[in-house]
């Protein structure tokens, strides 16, 4: 239940925003973050942005995912050999 995904704000109207999540857009509430702006990355839980993410955070997340995929691929190779 505590799952959250990262999203990018594409439109803002007060506490209501439109965010893009992996190519899909949906509405979100940005009342819990400071100075939300178009282009900001946020961590989204149950329709609410609970934290801003910097571009570095997104980069780190992507790097972690790449490393895990590489490690999984290495394990697969070892199992085959």
């Amino acid at each position: 239940m505590c799952l959250a995904v990262h999203a990018r704000i594409v439109k803002i109207d007060g506490a209501n925003a439109t965010v893009e999540v992996r190519g899909l857009t949906r509405s979100a509430n940005v009342a819990f973050i400071d100075s939300p702006a178009i282009g900001d990355f946020v961590l989204l839980h149950a329709g609410f942005a609970i934290r801003k993410w910097s571009a570095e955070d997104v980069e780190e997340f992507d790097r972690i995912m790449r490393e895990v995929e590489e490690a999984a691929a290495e394990c697969g190779e070892e199992e085959k050999s």
Binding site: L3, A4, I33, R51
Partner: protein, 357 residues
């Protein structure tokens, strides 16, 4: 530190610790992530993960499900809920079974969807099931405050929110399970901050690391816990710095303070824990769904003979130790809540049973 080097460090540090080390992951999302990613199977001998009580659906009491069903049978009520709650067994049935019998139950993605339904259907009472920890409670609190501001008389919350730190205290104080370190929940901590866990190393000498949800985050967090054990210097650290600060999210905390008051709460498997729940603040009592239950028939509480969900939630046993696991209790015929929830420990063991326990 890369994922591969973290895994190597886990082996070395476990060896240096010189004894078996049990780390409890509090959060159900961590439980599922550790199984799904295969992280458990990559952990060295002597290092094990115990699942804790951090699946909000799993710790929700049967009686709450019974109340939700009773409300959903009222002809003037629509019960709205996160999908996780749908199949959780109550004393006699689940919300899903009640819906099949005609009860009005709708699954929503966000409490904002429920609030919108209340705006669009003023003739109906829209009840949102307020289940979840500090990650989720601010969102629901916000809808309560918004309903009050908009003077929406038909939006209600049936509140069973729970808070994590006092449950951790209850687990440690019981002495039933020896825990060498906690992987603290990442998104709960994004709201409450990491400072709230300071009492754990201070009072109990147990390391706490707030962990992210990717396997590399979890491996790095376990490495941090092992380092603390080897250095004999238990403290609170944040691995999940992308989302968590020591102070947490002040705006979400403010919403929690306005919308709710602290209360004692009944946890499935852990019993009544003082100051571990949230009730709707008296100022917003008009949006509390509890009074709508007046006069509604509720089934008598029923004990499921043999189900060891409670002990699973306390980390006292693993699911294969339950006599019902994989026999009478399966994902298609769940007896305990831990088999129902996508984040439940029994469901994780069932799905990934071929992996190392």
């Amino acid at each position: 530190m890369s994922f591969s080097s973290s895994l190597l460090s886990l082996s070395r540090l476990t060896h240096e610790a010189g004894r078996p080390v049990k780390i409890m992951e509090i959060c159900g999302t961590h439980t599922m992530a550790a199984f799904r990613s295969g992280l458990r199977s990559l952990m060295p001998k002597g290092l094990s993960l115990l699942s804790g009580p951090g699946c909000p659906v799993c710790v929700t009491h049967d009686g709450y499900v019974d109340q939700s069903i009773a409300l959903a049978h009222r002809p003037d009520v629509t019960v709205t809920t996160f999908g996780d709650m749908l199949r959780v067994p109550g004393s006699e049935k689940s919300l899903e079974q009640a819906r099949a019998e005609g009860a009005n139950v709708r699954v929503v993605y966000s409490p904002l969807d429920a609030l919108q339904m209340a705006r669009e259907q003023p003739q109906r009472k829209i009840v949102f099931l307020g289940v979840g920890f500090e990650t989720t409670a601010p969102a629901i609190g916000w809808t309560i405050l918004q309903a009050a501001q908009e003077k929406l008389p038909n939006y209600f919350v049936l509140c069973a929110h729970k808070t994590i730190p006092n449950a951790m205290e209850a687990l440690l104080s019981s002495g039933e399970v020896k825990v060498d370190g906690f992987l603290c929940p990442g998104h709960v901590s994004a709201i409450i901050g990491s400072n709230v866990y300071e009492f754990i190393p201070r009072k109990h000498g147990v390391p706490c690391v707030v962990a992210g949800f990717e396997p590399a985050d979890m491996a790095a967090s376990m490495e941090m816990i092992l380092r603390q054990l080897v250095e004999k210097c238990p403290r609170v650290e944040i691995q999940y710095q992308r989302a968590v600060t020591p102070e947490g999210n002040p705006k979400a905390q403010e919403t929690l303070k306005r919308a709710f008051v602290e209360c004692d709460s009944e946890w499935r498997g852990l019993g009544m824990i003082p100051a571990s729940g949230l009730a709707i603040a008296p100022k917003y009592a008009a949006h509390d769904a509890a009074p709508l239950l007046a006069g509604l028939p509720l089934p008598a509480a029923k004990r499921h003979t043999g189900c060891r969900c409670g002990e699973v939630l306390r980390g006292a046993v693993t699911p294969p130790e339950c006599p019902l696991f994989r026999k009478r209790c399966t994902p298609s015929t769940p007896i305990g809540a831990c088999m129902v929830s996508s984040e439940g420990t029994c469901a994780a063991y069932y799905k990934y049973a071929t992996l190392k326990p």
